[in-house]
Each structure stands twice: as structure tokens, then as C-alpha cells.
Symmetry: C2
Subunit: 393 residues, 2 copies
Amino acid sequence: MEELTKFAPRPNGAGEMFQLLRDGRPRTRSDLAAATGQARSTIAARIDALMAAGLVVPAGEASSTGGRPPATFAFNPDAKVVLAVDLGATHAHLAVTDLASRVLVETDQLLPIAEGPDVVLSWVKTAGDKLLASAERELSDLAGVGVGLPGPVEHSTGRPINPPIMPAWDDVDVPGILRSHFKAPVLVDNDVNIMALGEHRAAWQDVNDLFFLKVATGIGAGIIADGALRRGAQGAAGDVGHIAVPGAAAVQCRCGNVGCLEAVASGQAIAATLAEQGLEARSSADVVTLVRSGELAASTAVRQAGRDIGAVLAACVSMLNPSIVAIGGIVAEAGEHLIAGIREVVYQRSLPLATQHLRIVTSQTRGEAGVLGASAMAVDHVLSPEAIDAFVA
Amino acid sequence: MEELTKFAPRPNGAGEMFQLLRDGRPRTRSDLAAATGQARSTIAARIDALMAAGLVVPAGEASSTGGRPPATFAFNPDAKVVLAVDLGATHAHLAVTDLASRVLVETDQLLPIAEGPDVVLSWVKTAGDKLLASAERELSDLAGVGVGLPGPVEHSTGRPINPPIMPAWDDVDVPGILRSHFKAPVLVDNDVNIMALGEHRAAWQDVNDLFFLKVATGIGAGIIADGALRRGAQGAAGDVGHIAVPGAAAVQCRCGNVGCLEAVASGQAIAATLAEQGLEARSSADVVTLVRSGELAASTAVRQAGRDIGAVLAACVSMLNPSIVAIGGIVAEAGEHLIAGIREVVYQRSLPLATQHLRIVTSQTRGEAGVLGASAMAVDHVLSPEAIDAFVA
């Protein structure tokens, strides 16, 4: 199974065939031959190799119109596990999942990213080992590690680039550090990208175009277009927090510009507004608490933040024409006020063609989006057609 | 060759192998076997079938390290031709191209789209026949037709949907009407999408993320992300003309909203501003003429339009992180004033990570972008892996 990470330049059809099985449905050798155009003898050999590795298991017999019913085969998501790591500004969320990204065990810990890579990654190693043990799996069962970080990440190298809220992490070789401990491939991406991926895979697999917006201490987005995450040229796509809000006050932003979405409508900005009104609000979590306690000023501020977000989202909707806009992040937990404000402005400001089939919803995966996406990113890598081809070769 | 349009459900490797040859480089049978992982005997049979169809031709011998030098084969873009149709608000531009989208003959005609589908499509049929004749090709040589229309198009059916400047075209079966005359598959898309595709293929093939902005009577965009055109859920992606310009005056737009980019910065809007100042300006073309004649008020107005466009483009750049922004459309012909205004605001308003490697340039394909893209769209369809598989099957 170590060879799963050694890529061959030469496709042999095994990976292509295996992708069909990843939906979990059992299939016969004939089904697979018909769907791939590969010879039945080739299919039989590939099935044998994947069964030997435990990635494919017998799944009973198909119904037959006469004669001996043919055997069926299915993907075995228990063959290996993946460690999913979602590092936020203040919290770390870890999970061990199977190869279908189902969470087996998980843990959540207050851990400010600003503690720096030494402290945070040491904790990830220790907590990861403990989680594997509590899932009763060995280190050798670990097929890969997926990590989300709260800042821009160069996807090809997995290194953070000039991350504003985590300066000590700039250009740190996160994949190398974790790989030397976990002995498995490590994939790293921006936290909002993995949340978008998690939300898409877990809740909207049939949707091709999804826009995921995280509203928390900061504001960011992840873009699914034609079924896949789009990261842009430097991995910075979805960085909507510093787009100017049309019509907003010229509030100073930490980026140096004025009137940025994040300066006007983030959880931090809402907390500041409420604090000016004499309320006890220092963080996004305080804002959610105030709204839930029925504090009118808090609901009003969250609704106005929704409108400001809506003004920028209207542009995103015109530009990308998604069919789902999913709102996640802790501020989305403050009930319907945020989404009501968002809907108000998006439906008013966007063209009818872009909104007639548009749904704006609260994230279905909520706090799990990050670990689900980190798992999916790692699984996609270790079970990619190229990886399976190399493994079977 | 008619079978090129009949898709088989069952891949046989011929299409996959053929895609490698589309770059024009000659390859040996062994090259193709190594690159695809298919058996050498399979490759040989596929090459024979594609040679019989004229799509592949012998391309001499490869150099050899000893023994008989192996034969090489190459894609033959002359095997068939494609009709590329770029229909704008006021002009029609037609070209016959080869299968590498090289223009063989072309024609340009003043033809308002508002004349309606009967008049316009009849002209396309007549002009298309004449162009084929002047290229000395038969109707049976025509592999496909690509069409760009100046309004929203449902890509799957090729029908315009509620097109604002061409109401008589709503839900017209453009592909059906042209197919019955040209006896070949017809692909239809929005004009800005095909311009983006044409610019990408002809000038920036190595760039994965390109944003194409057309500034003419209206304003629209086409999005290339991860190497392919992204159309969104209803084909409306890139519809940036009705995004609110941050900080702009509340100018009434024909869409019903105020302060839309198109109402503030399109060629039409610039012409209106200049007409108010007593200048002779009724159209985008008049604006370009005035700028070229050295009229200061016109240069100033175009530069301000550039700044307003820049304010919206900054949001597009933050959101999509392209490496190239190409500005096309007739207003881009007005020299450097437009692009200077755009650059001024984009570099001021976007995050450093998104702009450090960003280039904002004038379209390299200029007036040819539309026909080049229409041709590429048709060629991609008729030479797709599925089409070639079906043809060879």
C-alpha cells in the first residue's frame, strides 16, 4: 500500500476502473468492462490486485436471467484511514475518517494558530496518534493526511504564503513536518477551500456549481465550479474578504484599504459595533451568544452585516452563476438574521437569470465542513487514478 | 465522417490517443503506446482507422539509434473545416477554419442582431455557403458550426434565454435551424464566452486562469479556470455588466437597478457622457474615433470608465485569482487610456497575493477572438474523445 503514493507516468486503466467503484455501488466484472471499454481479462486482473490490497471486496452475487449469477465487487472504504486536520484561528479540529470520508473518531481543542507551527504541529502529531489509537488503527493504516490552514496556501507545495493572521507560519514546510511523523502523504489547503469541498461532497454532490462563504472572525469563500474546487493561479481564489462593499462606510481594514467586506461585516466587525453600543462583545462567539439571548441590537447588527455581505455576494453570483450559495462559519450559527439580510440584497441586486434557480442556505455540514473537506482532499489524492495505476502496475 | 457526431457510450482509447496528437507534434506508435498505456497493437489499429478518415497522416521517420527508424504520425487539421459565426449587436463575422482553428477565409458584415433570427440566420446560411465555396471546400467537408450570440444562451440546448438586446431570439432553436442547412453539429454560446475561449486558445494556451472582459456597447466577461471555460449553473457566469460599481453615481441602468457597471462605463455610457458635453458621440465606435482624434474629454471619459471597470475587476481578481486579465471589445481599441484606468484601481484595490503575478493586457486576438473561439468550440466537440471513440468503433 506504500506504493499508493508513487505515481506512474503510464496509465493502465486500473485507476479509471476504480473511480467508478468509489460511489460504493457493487458491480460485476461485465459492468466494469462495459463502462470502461477495457477487456474483461484486464478487469479481472485489476480486481484481483485491488482485492489483494483490500481496496475492493466481494459484494455478493448479482441477479441473473439464467445460469450462474455473476459475482459483484465493491469499494472497501475501511481498507485504510485518513487523518483530517482543520486548524482555525483559535481552534483545532481533528478527525480520523475512512476512505469514504466518514468520521470514525474526532477531537476539538482550543488552540490559537498564533502559537506558531512548532506548538501547533506538535499537538497535531500527538493528538493524531491518540486519535488513531482510539480508532484502533495502526500508523501503517494511515493512507494520508489532509490539513486546512486559516490563511493563503500555495497548493502545489502546501506552504502558507504571507498569511496575515499567522505570520510565524510563512513558507513553513507543513507537509514535510507532518509527513516525517505520520509516514503518509500530506495535503494542505486554505481552510475555506476545504470547507467548500467538505460541504460539496457531504451535502451537494449532485450540484456542479457551489459557492461557500465562511463568516467568522474573517470572511472568505471557496468556489466549486463544474464539480471541482477552483483555486486560481496562486491558490488565492475566493479571497472575498477584502472586496469593497458598494455603499458601505469607509471603515479602515487591517489590509490597508477601506470599506472591505471583512472590516464591515465579519464577526469581529459586528462585535466591535456592539461593543461601541456598550454591549459585552469581543468575538464572533459573543455575537452569536447575544443574538441567541434575544438582544435586539445584536440581531439588528447581524442582519445589517448580512446585507453588506449580500452586496458583495450579488457580485459573486453574477460572476459565477452558482446554483447553491452555502453560508458557514460561526456567525451563520446566529439564526436566520444573517441569511435573511444576505437574501434581501442578493435577490434585489442580481440578474434574474442568475437567481431564478439559486438557493442561499446555511451550511449543512456546519462545524464538520473543515474535517470532511480535509479528509476528501487526502482521499482524492491517495485514491486518484494515477495513484491506483501506480499501485496496480 | 458523419459518425463523428454519433457518440458511443463505451470508450475504446482511440479518442484519448487522438487528443495527444492534436498539438500537431508527430509521434511514433511507441510514443503513443507509452503515453496512453494502450497496447501497441491497439494503437496501430487506431492509427490505421484515423488515417483512413484522413484525420491522421504519416509525418516521416523519427531519428533512430540503430535499425529501421520508426514511422511517425501527426494530426491533419486539413481533413475537415469548421464554420465559425460571431454575431454581435451590430455586426456579423464569419470564418471558415481548419481543425486547428486557423482562419482560411472570412467575411464581416453590418447586420444588427435586432433584425431577428429569420433575417440573420438566413444570411448566415447564404454567407456560410459562399465562404465554403471560396475556401474550395464542399458542404460534406464541414465538420461542425460554432456560433456566438450577444446574449445569454443555455449551453446544453444552444437556445438564447431572455436575451435583453435580442428579444425576438428568445428560445429560438438556433442549432436546429442551422443544422438542417449545414448538415453538421452546431454549438452555440454567449459571444463573450467564445471570445474568452478564442483569446485563451490563440494567445495564452499555457495559462490556466484567464479572465476576459469585453468592453463595447455592453460589458461582459468570460472565465477560464483550470484551463477550461466555466459557464456556471445556467450558463450566466461572467455576467459582470450589472454588478454595482463601488462608489459610482446612482446612474439608472436598463436592467432596472442603479449604478451597474454597464450603466456607468460601457461604450454606450461613455458616448452619453460625451454627448452631454456637446460632442458628436452616439456609439462605442464614436468614442474610439474621438479618442484617436486627440479629443481630451474623450480620453478623460475613457480613463474614468477604466477606473470604474477597475473597481469591479478588483473584485473579480480577488475572487478568481487569474494570472491574465485580457481586455477586449471595441472600447479597448481606444489606446492605453482604458487599460491605464483599469490598472490604477485593480492594483490599488486587490490583495498583493492576487496581483503579484497578475498581468492586465489588451486582448491579443482583438476582432478575431469571437471567430477563433467559435471555431475552437466546434472543433472541441467534433474531435472530442467520445466523438473519436464512436467514429473508430
